[in-house]
Symmetry: C2
Subunit: 199 residues, 2 copies
């Protein structure tokens, strides 16, 4: 049933298209927006328009960017010899949060997926190969997710860079910090044993 | 850590203010908006602005409305003798969905709440009393939620309308359709027994 009047129903419909927002949440958000100060609601509208107008993809690494090159590609203090390959821009946030990495990035824009029909052409893989071919990169850290698709993509990239004069590495598997062995899946624990390090 | 660039971070912040949208969902929605067609994203921005510009509260019943009076107050075919009192406009949707009701509505805009410091003046109660005093209304169905605050509000309104020439009724408590007795709280089941009806 559609008992809201025009504009309100349109707002609920549009909100309902957002990922993770069901019809109930869409309605809740719409009423919230109706109740808050007009300036607050319009700041959200403005933010959406600004993002669409001004945010684009970095020409080099395909991270989000407001210019031709993103902040990480422009930052003079970062190490040009290492490139960390991630699936999505949000993975850069995760890596940055560790404070462990000061190299460059490359964003694939997803993973290979037979199921969803995503092939290498749909991802920013050619750009990575080009960057490596240009020289100067000593190590490529393939930091795709530890999912089936992520690992398939990692293998594909590793194969592709085989022969290029670059070391390809990947993240270690192991026991999460604070994790209890008892609750850990056997695959992770097996990997942690195999990749054990001296004290 | 704040590693997104300006406009993108602003969008994530603004989305994160919405009810039920945590930082992770805000990020997910922001990237979704970045990826979809510019027209789709701007339709959402437009919908927010339109709603803020054009949706207001019905002068009579305080439902949302694009004009002075809402669709339910304007509808000539509805029964003027009955008014259903609800907490929020979304409750009208719930009642309409039943197809059981063809009278008018009155939206309180919340419930009395000692905890949140909501008194009768904060709700659209004076307007209800005025409507009843104008005459022509035979029955007021108090359809507030079956929560403590909802029921407190229902009692307050019932007391207030005592003496006015109007019958005040409330929704029946009972077993939900399809519900199993075994899983029902004893309060609801007790009410269902007390309010049992002949076959």
């Amino acid at each position: 049933v559609n008992v809201y009047e025009g504009v309100m129903q349109t707002l609920i419909d549009e909100l309902g298209r957002l990922p993770g927002v069901g019809p109930k949440s869409a309605q809740r958000i719409a009423f919230y927006l109706l109740k808050v100060d007009a300036l607050d609601a319009k700041r959200l509208a403005r933010a959406i328009e600004d993002a669409k107008d001004r945010v684009t993809w970095c020409r080099r690494c395909f991270n989000i960017s407001e210019g031709e090159l993103c902040a990480f590609c422009l930052d003079q203090r970062r190490d040009d010899h290492v490139v960390c390959v991630v699936e999505e821009p949000r993975d850069i946030v995760a890596v940055e949060r560790t404070g462990e990495y000061r190299g460059r990035y490359h964003v694939l824009g997803g993973t290979l997926s037979a199921l969803d029909g995503v092939g290498p052409e749909e991802l920013n893989i050619a750009g990575l190969v080009r960057r490596v071919a240009q020289g100067g990169i000593r190590e490529v850290i393939v930091a795709t997710n530890a999912t089936v698709d992520g690992q398939t993509t990692a293998h594909y990239i590793t194969d592709l860079l085989h022969g290029a004069n670059v070391q390809v590495t990947r993240l270690a598997h192991g026991v999460p910090v604070g994790g209890e062995l008892d609750y850990l899946d056997e695959g992770t624990l097996a990997a942690a044993i195999r990749q054990r390090t001296p004290f």
